[in-house]
């Protein structure tokens, strides 16, 4: 069992999301940075679909009551076991009673903690991804205890560090495709959205990242239509809402661009307040 000594603010159990329930109005959810979540599981020979813990700053603190092999990837928040600090992006072998905490990340936003065989939490509608109203709880809380499978093969080395392409976390340029309402934009609006530095607002969360544009053009609303993670909506006030993993399934703002899967993961790792630039494919 693993105990959550301190939950942090945005710590939740996620997997690759809940498919098959969008027509019921249920968001897909799942890890904000899929690339890192899949990588974390791969390091432990887990299936890519098993659950990981996703966190941001302030980071959670865990106490392990059983020995376990874990992987920490994503943002470069160095893991600390008791008082010993390890490099960011490591596979670690923990003993019973070890306390795991993290240092703040310099690059990247979301950290991922995978455990051999995956975190064992409630499955709701085919997924462990926590979401309000769908799973019993919407995120981890201090004092929660998490079941883990007894691990037959523990890593023998105390730790090994792994490499991940840093540009995934640092790139400001995001590839985008045209969205369904792109053609309705006047050319001057298109010119202000593409190939220019835009700022990620601090009003961003698992549902959507708000991007301030310099547009003095507000797109007219549309009849409520389907949307998906990565849909860039242009609001009547001229700002962009990039829908993320917990986005609702339909929306009424003009869908001007669509981020491909890789760009959603890359955007999720940008620090709030940092610049991004859309590159139309």
């Amino acid at each position: 069992m693993v105990e959550v000594l301190s939950a942090g603010l945005q710590t939740s159990i996620q997997d690759l999301g809940r498919v098959g329930w969008r027509a019921a109005g249920v968001p897909v959810s799942g890890a904000m940075d899929r690339v890192s979540a899949i990588f974390a599981n791969k390091l432990l020979n887990n299936s890519p679909r098993v659950a990981i813990i996703e966190f941001a700053w302030p980071a959670p603190v865990f106490q392990f009551h059983k020995a376990a092999t874990i992987a920490v990837v994503g943002a470069d928040c160095c893991p600390r076991v008791n008082d010993v600090e390890y490099p960011s992006r490591s596979v670690l072998s923990l003993k019973a009673r070890d306390i795991l905490s993290f240092k703040p990340a310099k690059i990247g936003f979301w950290g991922y903690l995978a455990i051999k065989s995956g975190w064992q939490s409630e499955v709701s509608l085919g997924s462990r991804s926590q979401y309000v109203g769908v799973t019993p709880r919407s995120k981890l809380a201090s004092g929660d205890t998490l079941a883990i499978a007894t691990q037959s093969e523990l890593a023998t080395a105390p730790y090994s560090s792994v490499k991940m392409n840093v540009s995934h976390f640092s790139t400001a340029k995001l590839c985008v495709d045209q969205g369904p309402e792109w053609d309705r934009l006047p050319q001057r609006a298109k010119d202000l959205l593409i190939g220019r530095p835009l700022e990620i607002s601090s009003q961003s969360n698992r549902m959507a990242y708000l991007i301030k544009s310099r547009l003095n053009y507000g797109a007219p609303e549309i009849i409520t239509s389907p949307v998906q993670p990565g849909t860039v909506q242009l609001t009547p006030s001229g700002n962009c809402i990039v829908l993320m993993r917990d986005a609702q399934t339909t929306g009424g703002y003009a869908r001007v661009l669509q981020l491909p899967e890789i760009s959603i993961s890359q955007l999720s790792q940008k620090k709030l307040g940092s610049p991004v630039e859309f590159i139309l494919k």
Partner: protein
């Protein structure tokens, strides 16, 4: 059935669009098309999400999306009927009284109607469930009497109670769970519209019909108690539109 416009939507989805309007006829075609796609292409798809005049189809892969785009034109049926007993008419009891009808008297005043006229006009139509969205299990209902069309509240509420029945523009709907929201709340139903723990989590699905039946607070509490003890069954009959 006329083939709508079919275009890629991101890497692994397709978007089907009909002329941009909120109408029962267009929506009927959307429901038939969604039903056809779910059955004809079941091995390719993850989700089929209808709205008023469009459908998003989410595929297992980009390759499957390509296969769909290649085949959809040739397989599109000229005539298509959703089978009988696949869609239902549900009777939803609603208490249009205090303390549930937070915006009823305001809305009635704005519309120059009495509160009981608003209730009568809200209970008269057979609504069509256009689609579920906004919140898990939230039904967007088509068919609101035009004399009740009312814009959203200028300042949304931080907390709208589960079961609240509201009006926004030409739409009426039911909050399946507590949520912030800007719809004008005119009543509340004790019926549960979304249960995540169930195999079939939503009471309603797109294409079903809904009729509201006014109840008083005493009946509301009786039904609520019966639901909690598992002894209440929502009235439901087969419907062919």
């Amino acid at each position: 059935m006329k083939l709508p416009s079919v275009k890629p939507f991101g890497q692994t989805a397709a978007l089907l669009t009909w002329p941009s309007e909120i109408s029962l006829d267009t929506h009927q075609e959307v429901i038939q098309a969604a039903h056809f796609i779910e059955r004809r292409f079941s091995d390719l798809i993850l989700d089929v999400v209808p709205a008023y005049c469009s459908i998003a189809v989410f595929f297992r892969s980009e390759i499957f999306r390509g296969k769909f785009l290649d085949e959809v034109g040739n397989t599109w049926p000229t005539d298509y009927q959703v089978g009988v007993s696949e869609k239902f008419l549900y009777t939803i009891p609603v208490c249009y009284e205090e303390p549930f009808a937070l915006d009823l008297s305001d809305l009635a005043k704005r519309k120059e109607l009495s509160p009981s006229e608003v209730v009568d006009r809200h209970c008269a139509p057979l609504y069509s469930v256009a689609f579920l969205g906004f919140l898990p299990g939230f039904p967007y209902l088509l068919g609101l009497n035009s004399s009740l069309h009312t814009s959203r509240k200028v300042t949304p509420r931080q907390r709208v109670a589960q079961g609240s029945v509201g009006i926004a523009g030409a739409q009426t709907g039911i909050y399946p769970s507590v949520s912030p929201g800007g719809w004008n709340v005119i009543g509340r139903t004790p019926i549960r519209l979304f249960k995540a723990a169930s195999q079939n989590p939503t009471l309603l699905s797109a294409g079903d019909r809904v009729k509201f039946e006014p109840i008083d607070e005493g009946q509301f509490n009786q039904i609520d108690t019966a639901i909690k003890s598992g002894s209440y069954i929502v009235r439901k009959e087969a419907y062919r539109g």
